[in-house]
């Protein structure tokens, strides 16, 4: 199977008026000026376990052929799933995040999955084919969203699936490349402008697919 590289985003095109606005306001053009699309429907199974909310989600609609192509090309990819309980105003009352690193070994032609989440050691496993990977990504282990008592009476569950988010380490490496354009501290030649640019470098806005459940009631949470 030949993995096709995921098409990279073309440089954003900024019209003359937008550039003039940047020049006058002295601020780079804000990304994502257009409002985000509405989230797709999300199937969830919420349960109260020992007073804590456990949420199982179905991400099957998100695991598509494009994802297979981008995760099966032999480059290390990361799927970040963020699950949040939202109140009526759209604020996150509770949230949990889990990263799944997927690497297709072009020699053994098998997948290695490593699950990383706060408060737990990384857990690695092997998958012989994409179908196995798909099953595990589509039905991840339930997420712990904290005490049920902290939830609002009415809430929705939103899941965000993001592919290859910049990790703090990657951002730091990017900053390092800006600061030492010649290639690392050992190569010398620290750039003053690069250092300033590195200081101003921030996390890019998340490019995530969003899924949202219907409104749920805290009182209606089932217990196992």
């Amino acid at each position: 199977m030949r993995s096709a590289a995921a098409p990279l985003a073309a440089p954003p095109h900024a019209g003359g008026a937008g550039l003039l606005a940047v020049a006058l306001l002295v601020v780079a053009a804000a990304a994502g000026a257009a409002p985000p699309p509405d989230p797709a429907p999300l199937q969830v199974d919420c349960r109260a376990v020992d007073g804590r909310l456990r949420v199982a989600i179905d991400l099957a609609p998100a695991i598509d052929a494009d994802l297979e192509r981008r995760l099966g090309n032999g480059l290390a990819g990361t799927v970040r799933v963020t699950v949040a309980a939202l109140d009526a105003g759209g604020g996150a009352a509770a949230s949990a995040v889990r990263d799944v690193d997927v690497l297709f070994d072009v020699w053994t032609e098998t997948f290695t999955l490593t699950v990383r989440e706060p408060g737990a050691p990384p857990a690695s496993s092997q998958a012989a084919d994409w179908a196995t990977v798909r099953r595990r990504l589509a039905a991840p282990a339930p997420f712990d969203l904290g005490p049920v008592a902290a939830l609002p009476e009415r809430f929705t569950i939103e899941a965000r699936l993001e592919l290859d988010p910049l990790t703090p380490g990657q951002l730091e490496r990017t900053r390092e490349r800006l600061t030492h354009p010649a290639g690392g501290p050992s190569a010398g030649g620290r750039s003053l402008l690069g250092t300033l640019a590195a200081l101003l470098l921030r996390d890019p806005p998340p490019d995530a697919e969003r899924y949202r459940s219907s409104v749920l009631r805290r009182a209606g949470l089932a217990s196992p």
């Binding site: 990279l8 550039l19 940047v22 990304a31 032999g74 290390a76 072009v106 800006l178 101003l200």
Partner: protein, 495 residues
């Protein structure tokens, strides 16, 4: 404010094209590092290696099957066959033939042993044999391929990360650029404001001085601001102009005053002169009648004689006053002609024997020519009046006079100094006023005449103190630039 506004506009207007250029450069630069085609091709490299690995495995499997098909039937031929195979088949490291019972029937390994660990990776292949058993082959594949794959994968992942950060990279670069340009613009505005404020303040002082001059205050001056810019030049020029105006006004005022006093002197002389002769004649008649009267009282005769003496003395005094007033009133206007002041002073001393008799005179001249425009007769009168004052100030002693001629860039100076008692500083502002005198006798017109003549020459005269004691009069005349001394010393005026 307009000046500050102009500076602000000049400082910030280049921001627009600068930011446009920075935006384009950042984008173009990012496009060079992260050219989508380059990143895309990099991400396809692992797939290429996968194809290579599959091809190798496929090749090795086919080679193993081919070896299995060629196995000799006789057991004695198996070992030689395997030994030959490991030598002739490329990248075949080891062969092992297992029987149906699982026991190894024959095996062979490439001579020379294992390659240096880390240089190759084993690729095992097993082919099942028709009669049971299996032929197990161990091929090798270059470990360097995996190293290259790892490096390429790392590069491709880096390119992908950088692409994710492209937007933020561009933003942060633009922010740095904008901050630098903004800081430069702010600095330019601050400096411009400081410079403009200083310049505006200097212009405001100049405007205030101008307003005072327009209101008639010719003492207004602009403080020296230093520097050599246009405002400093304007200020210096203003000060020079106002000083010339003041001097010109003072000159006109004084000449008008002198003119007024000359008219008074003319009338006084006329009014005083008229009765003097009748007074003298009347007394002469009285004396004549007494002399011819027989039996006149001798005491009355002596009294008449004493009174007659008094009348004659006072009439003579009044006549002298009338002469001085008349001379003052008839003072002519200056008609200057080119002359050399040094030669004039030398000639004056030479032709003033009465001065030599009463005073010790020293003359100091300038090194070069001292051309001026001179009315010799009137300027001689100036020197007569000044030297006469100096001789009188010495009292009974022989006076010591110092006459000097000097030259500056555009003026010629004539200095008359004595070693007398000098003039009280409180009285100096009045010495040139008509009828002002510190002596018991005299009309007080001498120095007024001096000043009138000097002013009409376009010059100035001032009274100061001689270093070491005594009075010092300094007459400043314009330097005659033509330098062509057309006349003899003393000029062609009223010589």
């Amino acid at each position: 404010m307009k000046l500050v506004g102009a500076l602000l506009l000049a400082a910030t207007l280049p921001l627009v094209p600068a930011l446009l250029l920075a935006n384009w450069l950042a984008d173009a630069n990012a496009g060079v590092w992260l050219a989508p085609r380059v990143a895309e091709r990099l991400s396809e490299v692992p797939g290429t290696y996968q194809e290579l690995f599959r091809a190798r495995r496929s090749l090795y499997a086919e080679q193993a099957r081919s070896l299995a098909r060629g196995l000799p039937r006789q057991p004695a031929g198996l070992a030689p066959y395997l030994e030959q195979a490991v030598v002739t088949v490329p990248r075949l490291q080891r062969l092992e033939l297992a029987g149906a019972d699982g026991l190894v029937a024959a095996e062979a390994e490439r001579p020379g042993g294992q390659e240096e660990e880390g240089g190759w990776r084993p690729v095992p292949v097993e082919v099942s044999l028709p009669g049971g058993g299996a032929l197990r082959a161990t091929f090798t594949i270059e470990a360097a391929l995996f190293a290259e794959l790892d490096e390429t994968r790392e590069l491709a992942e880096t390119a992908r990360d950088m692409d994710r950060a492209r937007g933020e990279l561009r933003r942060s670069i633009l922010l740095v650029f904008a901050a630098m340009v903004g800081a430069a613009a702010l600095l330019a505005v601050l400096l411009g404001h400081l410079m403009a404020r200083r310049t505006v303040a200097r212009l405001a002082r100049l405007a205030e001085a101008h307003r005072r001059v327009a209101a008639g205050d010719l003492t207004a001056r602009v403080e020296p601001a230093g520097g050599s810019d246009e405002v400093a030049s304007l200020s210096d020029g203003f000060n020079v102009m106002v000083e010339e105006l003041r001097q010109g006004r003072d000159r006109i005022v004084y000449l008008e005053k002198i003119s007024g006093w000359q008219e008074v002197a003319r009338r006084l002389a006329h009014e005083i002169k008229n009765p003097l002769t009748p007074i003298q004649l009347a007394f002469q008649q009285l004396e004549a009648r007494w002399r011819t009267t027989p039996g006149a009282d001798p005491g009355f005769g002596r009294l008449l004689g004493e009174a007659g003496e008094i009348v004659r003395q006072e009439v003579a005094t009044l006549q002298r006053l009338v002469e001085e007033f008349s001379a003052f009133a008839r003072l002519p206007d200056v008609i200057p002609v080119p002359a050399d002041l040094g030669e004039f002073v030398t000639e004056f001393v030479r032709t003033s024997p009465q001065l030599e008799a009463r005073a010790e005179v020293t003359v100091t001249l300038a090194a070069g020519r001292t051309p001026v425009a001179l009315d010799a007769a009137l300027m001689r009168r100036v020197l007569v009046n000044l030297t006469e004052n100096a001789v009188q100030a010495a009292g009974p002693d022989r006076a010591r006079l110092h006459l000097g001629v000097a030259r500056t860039l555009d003026r010629v100076l004539l200095i008359v100094a004595d070693e007398g008692p000098g003039v009280d500083p409180t009285l100096r502002p009045r010495v040139f006023d008509p009828y002002f005198t510190t002596k018991g006798e005299g009309t007080g017109l001498g120095l007024a005449i001096v000043k009138k003549i000097v002013l009409q020459h376009g010059g100035e005269v001032e009274l100061g103190e001689r270093p070491g004691g005594g009075a010092r009069f300094t007459i400043s005349l314009p330097l005659e630039r033509a330098g062509d001394l057309g006349g003899t010393p003393g000029g062609a005026g009223r010589g």
